[in-house]
């Protein structure tokens, strides 16, 4: 049985097609989900894609959080379904309090689009099992509000529990605290990051194909969940 991975389209989502393509290239069945859906159409995992949901007015992700589909996703995420938030999706996960902290305006104030080197700090989450801890990967980064912030206690807790999943290497692109590029929840099924692995799945269009591991990891994880 092929894994069904859903990608949510909010009004203003932009990298939803790219996430669907990445799911397909990884070998899973891509399923489009609409923000007004309350059913998740039997998907096994969810990607919240990048973009500017609702124009990113107010705060990035703040309005998307209240959409009908998010209410179901909140329940399923708490029940263990793998959920990946990329960029705007990460912001939605933080706004929804599925992940701690928040994303603020880049410290240099500009939108930045560039290739970004990352270190995989935790290769045990639902979205990173196909990587190895300490592995370095390069995927694109593009955001205007990607500075990860949380209070010191939360940051310490994240570090202590190994919940920092990715860290920026060769220069912090946005002022994120402790060079944090992505984090996970305690259970390891919900992961959010600012960089865009779905834009590093084809050598023709990406700097590398090192983003593919996110999507194959989810497939690996889902197989294990079925067998468990």
């Amino acid at each position: 049985m092929t894994a069904r991975i859903g990608v949510v389209t909010f009004p203003g989502s932009l990298d939803d097609k790219d996430a669907l393509r990445a799911v397909r290239i990884a070998g899973a069945e891509p399923v489009s989900l609409w923000h007004r859906d309350t059913s998740l159409h039997q998907v096994d995992a969810i990607v919240l894609p990048g973009g500017f949901s609702y124009g990113d007015y107010l705060r990035c992700g703040a309005i998307a959080r209240f959409s009908p589909v998010m209410q179901t996703i909140l329940e399923q995420a708490r029940a263990g379904m793998p959920v990946l938030g990329i960029c705007n999706g990460f912001q939605v996960l933080c706004e929804s309090h599925l992940l701690p902290g928040a994303l603020t305006r880049n410290d240099h104030m500009h939108f930045v689009c560039r290739d970004q080197k990352l270190r995989v700090e935790n290769a045990d989450t639902a979205w990173t099992v196909d990587y190895s801890a300490g592995q370095e990967i390069t995927v694109p980064l593009k955001n205007g509000e990607g500075g990860y912030v949380a209070d010191e206690r939360t940051l310490d807790e994240l570090e202590a529990e190994g919940r920092v999943v990715f860290r920026y290497l060769d220069g912090n692109p946005n002022g994120s605290r402790r060079d944090i590029a992505g984090i996970t929840n305690a259970a390891g099924n919900v992961v959010g990051l600012m960089p865009h692995p779905e834009h590093a799945v084809e050598s023709l269009t990406g700097p590398t194909t090192e983003g593919l591991g996110f999507f194959t990891s989810a497939i690996t994880t889902l197989k294990k969940m079925v067998h468990a």
Partner: protein
């Protein structure tokens, strides 16, 4: 507070508004206009000339109503009517080369070309120069928004944007405001819209100080059967206005009408702001819902609302169709309920579209709009007459032949003459300027050149743009052209480059326009794509100045002749006049966008020299051509002489060689030579690939000329050793001069016997200028 009207039920009596609607007796109906022939109207304030106003009266057989005057005045403006340029632009049609690829030519929202496999591509460049000086962020943002709506209106999905930009002197105190605002606005709008930015230009010159040029281009892709035209056919079909509500944006002129003549001005701003604010999120929804309606075949005709808003959309739709049109202005959803009918007609509120839909499909159309949270309202219908009639509070305020508004505006034969200073300018030969005397001076000037604002790396700007979204970007910034994959199965793709050199055009506008064309053509060919068709954006000063008018006429003639010779038709474009501060016009700046097609994007040729040991060949002839060159500007702050000579047959041959070499896998990198000459191209390719180059000076050429001359029809290519013979044979057989100039090697750029510069030093020089100025 919010008393916006939103009635999708047609023809309900208008709800009461605040403030109270003007009494019937004060409304300037057509009947009232006929009965009061002597009423004075502020036609001059609205920009009409005396004879133009007389012509309106003659067409109507009476004085116009205020609403009619509003429509004629905006539609007959230079911007909408092309009254100064029309007579000359005709050449683009008359001289057009035959092209099987051209599906829709000049005159529509944008031209459409066939790229094979059932796909069609539409593309266009437009200017948003003046608004971007007043309010750089919003001016540039709404420029992107406007060009993208042109693309959607053709039935295409927008797939990429480009932004050719011209700013004032880099060190001028006002330049930072304009640069940072414009760049943030283009990024802010384009990024939020989900369109990759794949190219453009950034040029600084003090001639643009009070008139930055903000041109924005877009490409869209569709299937042949999805091409849509702006016309209102089919009696009884409904006219649906959808998108943003109408507010008081950009209607300075109409407010004069409303406040001074036709209503008491109490409680109204004397003059509404002329600046529009963009809402890219609304535009993203507009794209999605429009494409969904197209896919379900719900739309008969469509028009975007840009300059001149509803006046333009209704008159163009009606005049391009077979019948007439009746519009109920009360049904237009408003953001500001105090707007007068004249203002509603002239408002330039952004993110609006107008569709013509059969009655049986209206419900479905509205449902799609609802799905995307887009406000949509039936505001009128197609009638069987030939009049455009507009009603307000049940009374007729416009009754015109729409063709007279949209297509039969004035046409001027403006006087023009070769400027008296042109000869002296051309006689001031750049060849006489002092040149570097030894390797040390050459080295120093190379570093100055690559660090100069115009030649420096623009990543600080382009990294503020998302070039990746949609996942089909094959080539983008720092390559010769942007390239987009159109079909994931077959790898069919398109490439687009925009170019223009105002310095060349100032020296000789005919040649300058052809140089813009040949550079963009060469850039596209260098990536391995075959040039197919062009768009242009002609940025000039005041057409009322015979000097400027001459530049304009010459540039058009040059471009039209050039396109005929290269076989690339002009599919559409834009004219921006009055780019001047006081008496001083900007350099004549024709910007040309060339679209190419590539059957397999995986064979694209990048600019990077990345493979150690590969051989570097210079294609084409290098002559001593320094007029208008980057070297003359950077080292001597000089502009004079003749621009480089154009040889379009050579450009075509070079293009064929570059495409063949890509197809047969003979080259790994190619970079066209343009401003800055060979050394600029080599430095860019080395820095991109992270590898150095060892160059030798071929026999019979002066090292300085080799490095800095801007002779056209040239490119530098990196050839794997295994392909050397085959590549040379091909060039030889086709008669293209080819010179081996060096090898990719090491960590420095070296010109044997002259100088060598470490890559790190070049990188610093090339990369730090722009952030230091604007970061």
């Amino acid at each position: 507070m919010s008393s916006d009207i939103h009635s999708s039920a047609p023809r309900t009596p208008a709800p009461p508004q605040t403030p109270a609607p003007p009494q019937a007796s004060r409304l300037d109906t057509t009947e009232h206009a006929a009965a009061t022939p002597d009423t004075e109207l502020p036609w001059a304030e609205l920009g009409l000339k005396e004879d133009e106003y007389a012509r309106v009266r003659e067409i109507l057989g009476r004085r116009p109503t205020g609403a009619e005057l509003a429509m004629y005045s905006v539609m007959w403006s230079e911007h909408c009517s092309y009254k100064s340029s029309k007579a000359h632009l005709r050449q683009f049609g008359e001289k057009a080369p035959h092209s099987d690829a051209l599906l829709v030519g000049i005159g529509e929202n944008a031209g459409v070309v066939d790229i094979g496999q059932g796909y069609a591509v539409t593309f266009k460049v437009e200017s948003h120069n003046h608004p971007s000086y007043v309010e750089p962020y919003q001016g540039a943002a709404t420029g992107v928004g406007g060009i993208v709506r042109d693309i959607i209106a053709m039935g295409a999905r927008p797939v990429a944007v480009v932004d050719p930009l011209r700013f004032g002197a880099p060190e001028h105190p006002d330049t930072r405001r304009v640069v940072s605002g414009v760049v943030a606005g283009i990024g802010g709008y384009g990024n939020c819209l989900g369109l990759p930015n794949i190219g453009g230009e950034v040029v600084f010159d003090s001639c643009y100080q009070g008139n930055p040029l903000v041109n924005a281009g877009a490409i869209g892709v569709m299937r042949h059967e999805d091409i849509h035209l702006a016309k209102a056919a089919g009696t009884g079909n409904k006219v649906i206005l959808y998108g943003a509500r109408t507010g008081g944006d950009g209607i300075g002129g109409a407010s004069i009408l409303a406040s001074e003549t036709f209503e008491d001005s109490s409680g109204k701003p004397a003059k509404r702001p002329a600046v529009q604010v963009g809402d890219p999120f609304q535009e993203k929804l507009l794209i999605e819902c429009t494409l969904e309606a197209f896919a379900e075949r719900l739309v008969v005709g469509i028009q975007d609302l840009g300059a001149a808003g509803l006046s333009c959309a209704t008159s163009e739709l009606a005049s391009n169709g077979s019948g007439g049109m009746r519009v109920e202005l009360d049904d237009v959803p408003l953001r500001d309920s105090t707007l007068s009918p004249e203002e509603i007609l002239m408002s330039e509120s952004q993110e609006r579209m107008c569709a013509v839909v059969e009655p049986s499909k209206v419900e479905r159309f509205l449902a799609i709009c609802e799905k995307w949270d887009v406000t949509a309202t039936v505001v009128g219908e197609v009638t069987d007459g030939d009049r455009l009639e507009i009603y307000w509070h049940g009374e007729k305020i416009v009754d015109v032949d729409p063709r007279t508004v949209a297509h039969e505006g004035p046409v001027y034969q403006r006087p023009y003459a070769r400027p008296s200073w042109q000869d002296a300018l051309q006689a001031d030969d750049a060849g006489k300027l002092p040149r570097p005397v030894d390797g040390k001076e050459l080295r120093e000037q190379v570093l100055r050149l690559v660090a100069s604002p115009n030649q420096a790396d623009k990543s600080w700007i382009t990294s503020q743009y998302d070039h990746l979204v949609q996942g089909n970007t094959v080539l983008a910034q720092r390559e010769d052209a942007g390239m987009i994959r159109v079909d994931e199965e077959t790898n069919l793709g398109v490439a687009l480059a925009t170019d223009g050199n105002g310095r060349y055009a100032k020296l000789d506008p005919y040649t300058g326009a052809q140089l813009a064309l040949s550079e963009a053509y060469r850039n596209v060919a260098a990536t391995g794509a075959e040039p197919l068709a062009i768009t242009d954006c002609l940025n000039f000063g005041s057409p009322e100045d015979p000097d400027v008018m001459w530049q304009f006429v010459e540039a058009i003639r040059g471009l039209a002749d050039g396109c005929r010779q290269l076989g690339t038709p002009v599919t559409g474009g834009n004219v921006s006049l009055y780019n001047q501060t006081g008496e001083t016009a900007v350099h004549p700046t024709p910007v040309v966008g060339v679209l190419g097609v590539i059957d397999d994007v995986t064979r694209r040729t990048p600019i990077a020299f990345a493979q150690e040991g590969q051989l570097l060949y210079l294609l084409g002839d290098t002559r001593e051509e320094l007029g208008g060159s980057a070297w003359s500007q950077v080292v001597h702050d000089h502009l004079g002489g003749m621009p480089p000579a154009v040889d379009l047959e050579r450009e075509r041959l070079l293009g064929e060689i570059l495409v063949s070499a890509s197809r047969d896998g003979m080259i790994d990198a190619a970079h066209d030579l343009s401003d800055g000459g060979l050394v600029q191209a080599v430095v860019e390719s080395c820095l991109k690939g992270g590898k150095g180059a060892r160059l030798v000076v071929p026999d019979g050429i002066d090292p300085f000329v080799l490095l800095f001359s801007e002779s056209q029809g040239r490119a530098v290519v990196a050839v794997p050793r295994s392909e050397e013979v085959r590549f040379n044979d091909m060039c030889g057989a086709r008669g293209l001069p080819v010179t081996r100039i060096g090898v990719v090697d090491g960590e420095e750029v070296e010109l044997q016997g002259q100088f060598s510069i470490p890559l790190s030093e070049l990188r610093t020089a090339h990369r730090e200028t722009i952030p230091a100025l604007f970061g």
